[in-house]
């Protein structure tokens, strides 16, 4: 299991860099799909097969299809450099580097004690479903309202006239 983690961690980071470095939006979207799929593999390595499959079905199979569809529909081409992007680069790079170093140092000091993993919980569909519909039933119902609102919002926004 150990080499699997490092191979896919490397793949995830390379693909994530590719998301932000590609100039053509379709390539960014494709790289993001690679990130999502290799994260699904990492979820499997954490014993969460069900969530891994959900990640691929919903994220890679539905949300990203929507992105690709919109990119194709608007025929988004390569983006140009502007004044704003130069300013963002001068200010952004040092700030983000400092942020990354800070997070990593916190992780290193706080978690390096070598937390031993307890035996993996049963993360099959039945166990996840039982927890979802017993303990988290109220949040679950609230998300259904959220989705309803999102559907209405999308229809209102995208329709030319109602």
């Amino acid at each position: 299991m150990v080499p699997v983690f490092y191979i896919f961690a490397a793949l995830t980071i390379i693909a994530a860099l590719s998301v932000i470095l590609q100039r053509t939006p379709v390539y960014s979207a494709l790289s993001l799909i690679v990130v999502l799929c290799s994260l699904a593999v990492l979820y499997v390595s954490l014993g969460a097969k069900f969530l891994a499959v959900i990640q691929v079905i919903v994220y890679a199979g539905a949300i990203m299809v929507l992105f690709v569809l919109v990119i194709m529909l608007l025929n988004a081409g390569r983006e140009r450099h502007t004044e704003g992007s130069r300013l963002a680069r001068w200010l952004g790079v040092p700030l983000l580097a400092a942020f990354l170093v800070e997070i990593l140092s916190v992780i290193w000091n706080g978690l390096s004690s070598g937390a031993v993993a307890p035996p993996a919980p049963d993360a099959g569909p039945a166990a996840v479903g039982a927890l979802l519909f017993r303990h988290y039933v109220l949040p679950f119902e609230v998300t259904s309202i959220l989705i309803l609102v999102a559907i209405l919002g999308a229809v209102v926004l995208a329709k030319k006239q109602l």
């Binding site: 379709v26 494709l30 069900f50 691929v56 890679a60 199979g61 539905a62 299809v65 690709v68 194709m72």
Partner: protein, 354 residues
Amino acid sequence: MALSSDTLFLLGVAVVKVVVVLLVLLTAIAYIVWLERKLVAHIQSRWGPYRVGPYGLMQPMADGLKFLFKEDIVPLEVDRFVYWLAPFLSFTLAMLTFAVIPFGGSFKLFGHEIYLQIADLNVGLLYIFAVTSLGVYSIALAGWSSNSKYPLFGGLRSSAQMISYELSLGLAVVGTLMISGSLSLRDIVNSQTGTWHLAGTNTFLPHWNIFVQPVGFIVYFIAAIAETNRIPFDLPEGETELVGGYHTEYSSFKFAMFFMAEYANMVTVSCIATLLFFGGWHGPVFGPAWLHVLLPVFWFALKVFCFLFFYIWTRGTLPRFRYDQLMAFGWKFLLPVALLNILATSFVVAWIGT
């Protein structure tokens, strides 16, 4: 790392299974193409392929050679990488689904129980849905990267169509999942063993889900035809309006990969229909021990073949939908019916359960 002989044995068995499944599948795809040409020809009062070999049986070979040796034409101004990626993606994803499909029961070999299935996942059905949901990309990207009007229209149409019908497809099988209580395809098939008992009397009807989930099956099958882009839902490639749809600009072996992927997807959805609604490999089993292993595989193949026949039959019979009709049918008819089916099934399951 030293591997024990047991591990090596199981590894070898897995490799053999993968190779056998791939070989059988590719041969089957070649002959489904032959069957389709022959059947459609007879439906239309023609002869179909008859020159290469007896009954044109060598036609698939001739087609394959032709695909291999034809010039690979790449139009100017295509997006090279994506143009190359799309057919490979489509073919690979179509093949990946067969990793979790069980073809038969199990038998003992050198003290090991060997299942006729490459891998039994406890989320097997969801895995198939995950892989097929990625199939949209190959079509959308092929349409986009060709840098041509008709393929782009085909790609856009198919993205919308496949997302819409995926919903009905997923919801249609929820009823059977509630009845069998598992997402593992092996468990689902095993829950359909035996015959139905009605009020204490044996009805001698096989214990298949089709008898309790007819609505689910019909919705599933219609949505499956739309998912595989077959007539009457072949809008993404409609020849008369879009030249050839998303694969207009493809030639030679890249085109062949799209072609094979389409037929592999047909086999996949037929396999799932068999496993979920028609009892998988269950059927009359008799005779010596080796027949007990082979007969279930035969029943499975026969059921899948019936579905494939039905596919070709619809192609020879039905005209194509108009695009707005297709969308209205998917969203305003199939989806509500699938939801009502889930509602009814859950009430019945809860009622019987208590």
